[in-house]
Symmetry: C2
């Protein structure tokens, strides 16, 4: 059974986000005065084969811990859905 996992990886709230600051300034200069804060992270889309959604989530969590996420400064969220094809 195929599953799609979307993993959103962001810096923990106390960690300085230099890229976010740069984007914030650029958007301010473009006239977006309504903007109060910007944080930038990464997203990883996985297509994986697993017998159950629980197993798929377990695999995705393992990939986060093993490679995708630096637990010292980053946190992550996994969303899962069944993949048709």
């Amino acid at each position: 059974m195929r599953h799609r996992a979307e993993i959103v990886v962001t810096l923990k709230s106390g960690v300085l986000d230099i890229q976010g600051k740069a984007v914030f300034q650029s958007l301010q200069q473009l006239g977006y005065g309504e903007l109060e804060d910007v944080r930038v992270g990464k997203v990883v889309h996985l297509l994986l084969d697993a017998p159950t959604p629980e197993k798929a989530r377990e695999l995705a969590r393992g990939m986060c811990e093993d490679l995708l996420v630096n637990g010292l400064i980053e946190e992550y969220r996994i969303s899962l859905e069944a993949a048709e094809r």
Copy 2:
């Protein structure tokens, strides 16, 4: 009224994702044989002030078109929620 917008930016499906390929290979080498595909993108979290959710979404869409997204090779999705603080 404060809103949080999460913008997920990914490469269009026909565009070669070199970073995704690299992550795919690394995860394969770590033993994740269940993995079939990996795509890597970015996520931008905005905190912004707008009178209505519709206006907040319009602002976020403008920021995507003006700066955050390269429409030639990337596509994006906006999720919106009210921010408490």
